[in-house]
Structures are given as C-alpha cells and as structure tokens.
Amino acid sequence: MSLEQIIFYLFSTILIFSSLMVIISRNPIFSALFLILSFVTCSCLWMLAEAEFLAITLVLVYVGAVMVLFMFVVMMLNIQESVSKEKFIKYLPVGLLVSVSIFVEMWLVLKSKNLVNEVAVSPIRHDANYSNTKELGEVLYTQYMFQFELASVILLVAIISAIALTLRKRKNVKFQDPVKQIHVKKADRVRVVAMKSEKL
C-alpha cells in the first residue's frame, strides 16, 4: 500500500466516523463539532484528489462561516436533548429495513464484475506547477458563464426569501432612527436653565 492510499484510508475512516457521530451524538453542540471535523477531513480528501480550490473553499466557507453561524444558532436555541430519542425506537424497524435493503441492492450492483473494467480510468496526474484555481477561473467566466449567472440568481432568490419570510413590521417596537440621531441638535437634548448662583 502506497503512502497515498494509507492517507486516503485514514481520512476516509475519520470522515465516516465523524459523519456517523453527527447523526448519533445527542448533544447538538457535539453534532456541529463533528460536522466541522467531517468538513475538514473531506477537504483533505479533496486535496489528495488535486482539487485544492474546492478544499480551500470548503474550509473557508463551511468551516469558517457557515459552521460558526450554526454553532451560534445551536447555542441560542437551547435545544432539549431528550426529544429526539423517543421516536428513534419507533422508527428504527422501518429505517433499518429500508437502509439494509438499499445497502444490499447497492452491494449487488457494485460487486458485479463488469462495473469496474471500462469505467475506472485513473485521472491524469498534473505536475506541481499546475493550478487548479486558475483552471477553474478560466472556464467559470467563459464556458460556464450561463450557469454562473444562474447561480447568482439563485442566491438572489435566497436573499429575497430570507427577508420576505423573516421581516416583520411590528408596531410599538423601540428602535433607533439613524437619520434623527444624526440631525439631533444641542438644543433638542440639553436644556440650559438660568439659575441664580448660590452663595456659600
């Protein structure tokens, strides 16, 4: 077994373990932390497959931004731990049946011989100077321009929906009005009172 394979199997094992723990662990904080672990391991696997741009993005975007937000939400919400467990036993037989049958079916397909021969052509190796990021950048704004624009529209829809679903104009809420704050004058706030000076 080459060093590369050893690294691959090591990270794969960690990935599978941490993904399982995301679902199994009863404390939502642990789940979120295990999700971060699986993202990091996944990005290592991508690095191994010479997809360094994806690997970096995964760490920067998901671990750096999304998961931190997740952690905040989990901490804010104060989710009860015991709720999910009651229904687990109830749905276990059905879930087990479905997952076992899916597993057996996939096993039957994947173990058959004519699956491997034609398909598994190993990808071309690139030398150290090859930049994955540069290659992506070259096709992203040319060949995939249409899809790139579409993705931006999807993000726009996400913004619109997020605002439309959460913005409530409630009455009787105290809030600051920056315009008024800027235009405030000394006379509005400070009242100068003429007083007689008192003698000691």
Binding site: V109, V119, Q147, I154, L165
Partner: protein
C-alpha cells in the same frame, strides 16, 4: 468561447424575464403601499412581453448556445409559450384571493417570476448542470412562496416538508448525475446521447446512475411511491400557490423528464422503460383509488394529479416520437385543465376563506352557471369524455402504448380511468343535483369571468380541433 451576439438573442426571453423580476422587486420601494396592484400589472406585462419575445425571436432550427448549456428548439418554443400564456391566466385567477390573504406583495410576484425563470431554464437546458440549476431556482422560489403565509401553521409545516423532501430528491438526482458523468466524462446531453446510443445497456454503472436520476425525477413529478409530499403540499398551501404548483410547474416537470431521459439518456430506454412502467402503474392505481376517498377537493386534485402523472409516463414508456409527443400533449392539456379547475375554486373563495371542500360546490349551478359549466367541462375532460380534449390526450397516449406492443399497460390505464371517472362525476353530481340551503351569491370581476370562460372553452375547442397542438407536439420530437 467567442462571445457572439446569437448568445444574447437566443436567451432574450430569460433576460427579459430576469430583468422584469428585478424591476417588480425594486418598484415596490418607490410606490405607496396602497398601490400594491402595480406589481400585479407589471407581472402580467412581463408574461405578455416574454411571450412576444419568444415568438419574435423563435429560432428556425435547433440552436445550442453558451457552449451547449442552453438549447433552443421546437420543444422549448412550445413549452415556453404555453408556460407564459398559462402563467398569465394563473395570475389573473389568483389576484383576488392574494389580496384577501394580504399576500399580494411585490416579493410574491418577484418570487413567482423567478420560479417562471427557473422553469424556462429547465425547458431550455442543454446539460445536466443547467437543468439542475433551473430546478433549484424553481424549487427554492416555490418553498418560500408557500411559507410566505406565515400566520398559517399548515403552510409553514408544508413548506418545511416540501423543502426537506425536495432536498432529498435533489440529492438523489445529483448522485445519479455524478455517476453518469463519471462514465461519459460529460454533462452535455447531446454528448451523453451519442455515447449511450453506442454503448446501450452494457455499462452497469450507467444504469446504477440512471436509477437515482429516475428516483429524483419521480420525486419532482410526484409519481408513486415518491408522491407523499404532493397531497400535503396541495392541501397545505393557499389556493393561489396550489394553482401555481398544480398547473404550470407540470410543464417544467415534463421538460425535466424529456430533457434528461429523452435528450440525454435515450440509449438507456430499455432500462428506464421498466422503471417508468412500475412508477406509472402504481401512480395510476393509487392515485385514482385514493382520490375517491377524499372530501377535500384540493387533496382530490392532488391524487388526480398523481394518476395523470402516470399517464404522462405511459407516453414516455412507448419510447418513440408518437409516445413522446402524446406525453407532451397530455402534459399541456393537463396544465390547462388544472388551471381551470383550481381557477373555479379560487373564484368561489370569499374574503380569504378558501372553497376547498367538495361540499362547497353544492348547488353551484344555481349560484353561478358559468363556473358550474366550466367545472363540468374540466371534470369531463379529466375523466376523458369526448368531445373534450382530455379524451384526445388519453387516446393518443394509449394509442402510442398499444402501438409499442404494451397492451397490458394500456389495459391498466383504461381500467383505472374508469375508476377515476367516479370521483370526477361525483363533483358534477354535487354541483348540479345537490341544493344548498342558503344560496350564497358568487360575484367575480369581468376579467376573471372572461378568462375562466375562455379557459373552459379552450378545453372544448382543443377537443374538437386537436390537430394543431398535436402537430406542434410531434414537431418537438424529431
């Protein structure tokens, strides 16, 4: 990629639609809240102008632009045009109830336009990436359109359910696509088509991917056993959104299945034929039988949709031009019928209270003869009674399936149509032969009455003269 002018001209309908959606969104900032109907009129204007652009810039032959990401052909022309026309009617019908429910905000119309954009992208998709992005654009807009009715617990619950199941379906679809990509090294439909035509069924991993793609597509179409979300979504969302989901998104769903299975994976027809046959038979049986037990008319329509999806799949199973065009004809006709059916329900709704039980229709012939007649036509058409167009739709699908020597499928379809006729005829019985004690008047604006009348008349006229639409459909598959 050389940046040609033809790229812009070909995608002009989408560009216009996107720009107008942004205008609808922004114009709200500069108008008083009293003039909310401005965004409604802008939306309707958009539908008209996009339809005009589609007709004016219709390409004479199939054009592939943006390195094959976008395809413009007969299929996309017919589907997009019917999308715009039906979209216009859908917005006319839903205006009043949206106002009553205080949903007629510019965000709603903007989201609806973005959903239309997603559908148009799906219709014109030339590769897997484009069709997936179009699908997500459509679904995301739909989820938030349903959830916009925040005070209704049912709507929010349904939006969540739809969101989760939709995400699972997208995951399935993507997994299948990645398998196909792994083998063919391409996401381009025409390239994959060539490869599958040569290799055929020999590569097992292609079929492995195909299974996941079919599951994803069946989820989106609502075929049994992936139908569980459909009755809940129809029931839980408010009627204008049910109308939107129930009618025009079916056109996009057909585009999805036609582009992926026919344009892309036609070489694997022998494999997906059997998968679709199972889905179709189950949908026909379960849809028609469970619809009988429904008291809520929205749920009844949902189960009836499931059975119609079975019919649409039957045409694809035939696997030739006859079958594909029959299936497309059926989809367009179904969208037309569903628009009229839900349109009648929308018009019966008053002050934000929806007409959703079958009992709400009782004595409709006395209250509003026009609505009763339209509903009568719709029900006859859905049941497949001549001379309505539903008859020709069913006939052409069954014709295609019989000519491909799958008579048992045709028998199932005919037999289940007979079962289905029961609950369609029951609606007619309720409308014409049951009297309501208190006669509530139904008042609708002239526009609404005009369009519902035209809609009902179209169903009849297309039944008498189905040739033109049939020819358009068969010209779409060459």
């Amino acid at each position: 990629m050389a940046f040609d002018f033809i790229n812009i001209v070909t995608v002009l309908p989408e560009i216009v639609l996107l720009s107008m959606a942004c205008v609808v969104l922004l114009i709200d900032l500069y108008t008083d809240s009293a003039e909310e109907s401005l965004s409604y009129y802008l939306t309707q204007f958009t539908m008209v102008i996009v339809a005009a652009v589609i007709i004016i810039f219709a390409p004479e032959k199939t054009v592939l632009v943006f390195d094959g990401a976008y395809v413009s052909d007969n299929l996309s022309f017919v589907l997009k045009l019917s999308l715009c026309l039906l979209g216009f009617v859908v917005f006319v019908f839903s205006k009043k109830l949206l106002e009553d429910l205080k949903l007629d905000k510019s965000e709603y119309y903007a989201l609806a336009l973005f959903a239309m954009l997603g559908m148009m992208v799906m219709i014109s998709a030339g590769n897997f990436l484009t069709i997936y992005l179009g699908l997500e654009l459509l679904s995301l807009s739909l989820y938030s359109m349903i959830a916009m009715q925040r005070d209704s617990k049912r709507s929010v619950e349904v939006a969540m359910k739809y969101f989760v199941l939709g995400a699972v379906a997208s995951g399935m679809l993507l997994y299948g696509i990645s398998m196909i990509y792994g083998v063919t090294k391409s996401i381009q439909f025409d390239v994959i088509h060539e490869i599958t035509m040569i290799t055929g069924q020999s590569q097992l991993i292609m079929i492995f991917g195909l299974v996941f793609i079919v599951i994803g597509v069946a989820f989106k179409l609502g075929a049994v056993p992936f139908h569980m979300w459909l009755p809940d979504v129809y029931h839980g969302s408010s009627l204008p959104i049910t109308l939107f989901i129930g009618s025009i998104t079916k056109i996009a769903a057909f585009a999805l299945i036609a582009r992926v299975l026919v344009d892309g994976l036609e070489g694997l027809h022998a494999s997906w034929k059997d998968m679709l046959a199972i889905l179709a038979v189950l949908s026909l049986i379960l849809g028609n039988i469970i619809a009988i037990a429904q008291k809520n008319i929205k749920r009844m329509f949902a189960y009836s949709t499931i059975s119609h999806v079975g019919f649409i799949m039957l045409g694809l199973i035939a696997g030739n031009q006859l079958g594909y065009s029959a299936s497309m004809f059926y989809t367009l006709v179904y969208a037309l019928m569903a628009t009229a059916g839900f349109g009648v329900l929308l018009m019966l709704s008053k002050n934000g209270i929806e007409a959703e039980n079958i009992a709400d229709l009782s004595g409709l012939s006395d209250r509003s003869p026009l609505l009763a007649v339209v509903m009568l036509v719709v029900m006859f058409s859905m049941a497949g009674v001549p001379p309505t167009v539903g008859f020709y739709a069913k006939l052409s699908v069954i014709n295609a399936i019989v000519s491909s020597d799958m008579i048992w499928l045709a028998l199932v379809a005919v037999f289940m149509s007979v079962v289905g006729a029961f609950y369609y005829l029951r609606i007619i019985k309720v409308m014409y032969f049951e009297k309501q004690d208190i006669i509530e008047s139904v008042d609708n604006s002239f526009n609404e009455r005009l369009f519902i009348g035209v809609n009902g008349l179209t169903i009849l006229l297309l039944g008498l003269y189905p040739t033109t639409l049939m020819m358009l459909c068969s010209a779409s598959f060459k």
